[in-house]
């Protein structure tokens, strides 16, 4: 106990005692990890988690609404293709947040994705919110503190902190049997950055050797989709104890302007099965790992003339793992009447998505989220 006040002062500076006691209760742990799954294209939150209890819903979605949806709480129902996530919801691990989105919204995919990844609400900066978060997490020698399992470093992870990106673990290797030669070349490099990053790369290559073929645990069965493979790689890194703290990955194909019913049936099924398999694979490690899905915007409340939906504003997100209190849909539901809709067409944002991300940073990872997401006050949405 004598450590508490000193530690709290060192960590929290001149912050209030109330904060100090929270900081003492749980300080940043190197075992904690956050996985952010970016669903690109703008997910139709009204299809993923349908507000079946809203009197306007059926009229807005005459052909798109699903009859067999999985009832969550009487008002909201999960898309029937996502039934594989029902057990996680019943175990009170999976939480849904609805009518969540960006305050300075844009209906351009690129701007909206960039604004979300910069974490600066309507602005683009020189680095991303996850990279800034990484600078606040406990340092380590690991090259895998921040990993993007996708092609190239996503904007959210761009910044001063070194991160690793690869489309799959299988690709993260030096081909041609020449690795030993390169390792020696970089060990002797005159340039310090090349020498240090080179050492990280080769230590990292060694650390993940063999992980690419590690079998999933607890009988988890991943779908054969791209996201399934990528989440499986994230699980391999976590089980491999390589020092992973933040992981980013993504899936695309949610821009459902036409034929949405068929398209989402496949996309949402693969998404749900991948997330469910990840949870099973992690087993007890899920206590240390939180997963959240984000998307750049939702879609129009009313279906369009091509059995699809157009770019909208608010959507829904899924979150599970860590201490997240699931089994509930959290929403300040704005309603779907013409006057309730944003600009008469979109589900209105009643919760800034950044406040939920900030909550994950502050409550799950125990860091000062303000330095990653400036000006954002963490919500009390996921952790009760």
């Amino acid at each position: 106990m004598s450590l508490f006040s000193r530690r709290a002062l060192l960590v929290g500076g001149g912050l209030s005692l109330a904060f100090a006691s929270r900081a003492r209760a749980r300080e940043p742990s190197a075992r904690k990890a956050l996985v952010v799954v970016f669903l690109r294209g703008g997910v139709d939150g009204l299809a993923m988690v349908a507000p079946v209890g809203d009197p306007q819903y059926a009229g807005l979605r005459p052909t798109l609404r699903e009859e067999q949806a999985v009832v969550l709480d009487g008002f909201f129902a999960l898309h029937p293709a996502m039934a594989s996530l029902a057990p996680l919801y019943e175990q009170k691990r999976l939480a849904v947040v609805h009518a969540v989105g960006q305050l300075k919204a844009s209906r351009s995919h690129f701007d909206a994705q960039d604004f979300l990844e910069s974490g600066l609400a309507g602005q683009k900066g020189s680095d991303g919110w996850l990279n800034r978060a990484l600078s606040l997490l406990p340092a380590s020698e690991s090259a895998f503190r921040g990993v993007a399992v996708q092609n190239g470093v996503p904007y959210s992870m761009v910044g001063a902190q070194p991160v690793v990106a690869f489309p799959s673990l299988r690709d993260f290797k030096v081909g041609g049997g020449a690795a030993a030669g390169f390792e020696q070349l970089y060990a002797a490099a005159v340039d310090e950055a090349l020498r240090v990053r080179g050492a990280e790369a080769f230590t990292g290559l060694q650390a993940v050797k063999g992980l690419a073929s590690a079998e999933p645990r607890n009988g988890a069965q991943y779908p054969k989709s791209g996201l399934g493979k990528r989440l499986q790689d994230v699980a391999r890194l976590i089980h491999g104890d390589v020092g992973l703290q933040l992981a980013a990955t993504e899936d695309g194909g949610f821009d459902t302007h036409l034929g949405q019913k068929q398209a989402l049936n496949g996309k949402l099924r693969a998404l749900a099965e991948a997330l469910a398999a990840f949870a099973v694979d992690l087993g007890d490690r899920l206590d240390d790992v939180a997963v959240v899905t984000v998307t750049e915007f939702g879609r129009t409340a009313r279906e369009n003339g091509t059995r699809g939906t157009d770019h909208g504003t608010a959507s829904a997100l899924l979150a599970f793992g860590g201490g997240i209190v699931g089994g509930r849909v959290v929403s300040d539901w704005p309603g779907l009447s013409a006057s309730a809709l944003h600009e008469g067409r979109d589900l209105r944002v009643t919760l800034d998505v950044r406040t939920v991300l900030a909550e994950l940073l502050s409550t799950h990872l125990q860091i000062l989220s303000e330095r990653s997401l400036p000006g954002v006050v963490a919500s009390r949405t996921l952790f009760g």
């Binding site: 960039d114 910069s118 602005q123 683009k124 900066g125 020189s126 090259a143 092609n151 190239g152 470093v153 904007y155 761009v158 001063a160 070194p162 991160v163 690793v164 990106a165 690869f166 489309p167 993260f172 290797k173 030096v174 081909g175 041609g176 049997g177 020449a178 030993a180 030669g181 390169f182 020696q184 070349l185 970089y186 002797a188 490099a189 005159v190 340039d191 950055a193 090349l194 020498r195 990053r197 080179g198 990280e200 790369a201 990292g204 290559l205």
Partner: protein
């Protein structure tokens, strides 16, 4: 119509970019008030949007949208009643501000000398900029004639951006016959998605932004792939590569790719890496000549080749 103006509000974005990125620089000491005042100065500067054209449209000044009250921006006083010339005066003022001179001088020195350029050089370039009223040609002459530019310390001090790495290795080793998606995607893996720089500042100049463990592995694999002639759109025929004894092959490719700038230690390492492979083969009772494609891959992935 002040009521209408209040309803439309003020967009500070370009004013901030003007001060931060194009002139004074983020550390110049201007305040949020300066940003707001600069935004007021630029009210009425607009675009005549073209609905069906590729280009964004032409500049237009909308008199009714201009805020004619007096303004003060970072030491510049603009009396009430100004019109479009408010903005022109601001641009002239900012262009010749000492902070702008320093900001620009730093960027040029960082681009051409090193990521952390000598302060004396930056000061000298800034002084030349101010002395000549912003004559960039004079600034470049000063830069390229400077002791710091020609110093040993500045030789190969800069790390290649991914685009520079790809361009220099394709140029050094093969021939580009067509630009295929694989070549463009290679840049994604190294962290420089072509034409998709996110921040308004464009791609970073400092090596720290380009050199990460993952990006290095991508760079190394790119060299190996190129050496193997595995990149669509780029031709590296084996017949175009040197053949013969290992040291002759390494030296010839080192001259071709690095201008002979391979350190003695790296040369030994490359030879050993190639030699080890030969020994492996000999244990199978099969002799294999040194593979120049592997040597080329090692050299392109070497730390030396990552430098400009």
């Amino acid at each position: 119509m002040p009521a209408l103006k209040r309803a439309l509000g003020l967009n500070e974005n370009y004013a901030r970019e003007l001060l931060e990125l194009h002139t004074l620089g983020v550390d110049a000491g201007y305040s949020q008030d300066d940003v707001r005042e600069a935004a007021r100065v630029l009210t009425g500067w607009s675009l005549e949007l073209k609905a069906r054209d590729d280009d964004f449209g032409d500049f237009v000044y909308r008199r009714a949208a201009h805020d004619p009250a007096e303004k003060n921006v970072f030491g510049l006083h603009l009396p009430a009643g100004g019109q479009m010339d408010d903005g022109e005066k601001l641009l002239d003022y900012l262009a010749l501000h000492p902070k702008t001179a320093h900001h620009l001088a730093f960027k040029l020195a960082q681009k051409f000398v090193s990521d952390a350029p000598p302060e004396g050089l930056v000061d000298a370039l800034a002084a030349e900029y101010l002395r000549t009223g912003g004559d960039l040609r004079a600034v470049y002459l000063k830069l390229f004639g400077s002791r710091e530019f020609w110093a040993d310390a500045a030789f190969a001090a800069k790390t290649k951006t991914p685009l520079e790495l790809v361009a220099s290795s394709v140029r050094g080793l093969g021939e580009l016959t067509s630009v295929q998606p694989q070549l463009v995607r290679a840049l994604d893996g190294m962290g420089q998605p072509l034409y998709r720089a996110n921040p308004p500042t464009g791609y970073a100049e400092e090596a720290a932004r380009w050199v990460s463990a993952g990006a290095l592995v991508s760079r190394i694999n790119f060299g190996l792939e190129l050496g193997r002639n595995d990149l669509p759109g780029v031709q590296v025929p084996l017949s175009s590569l040197p053949a013969g004894a290992p040291d002759a092959v390494v030296d010839a490719l080192s001259r071709r790719l690095l201008g002979g700038r391979l350190s003695a230690e790296s040369r030994r390492t490359v030879l050993a890496a190639v030699g080890a492979r030969e020994e492996d083969a000999m244990q199978d009772g099969e002799q294999r000549p040194v593979d120049p494609r592997v040597v080329a891959g090692l050299l392109i992935g070497s730390p030396e080749f990552q430098k400009q």
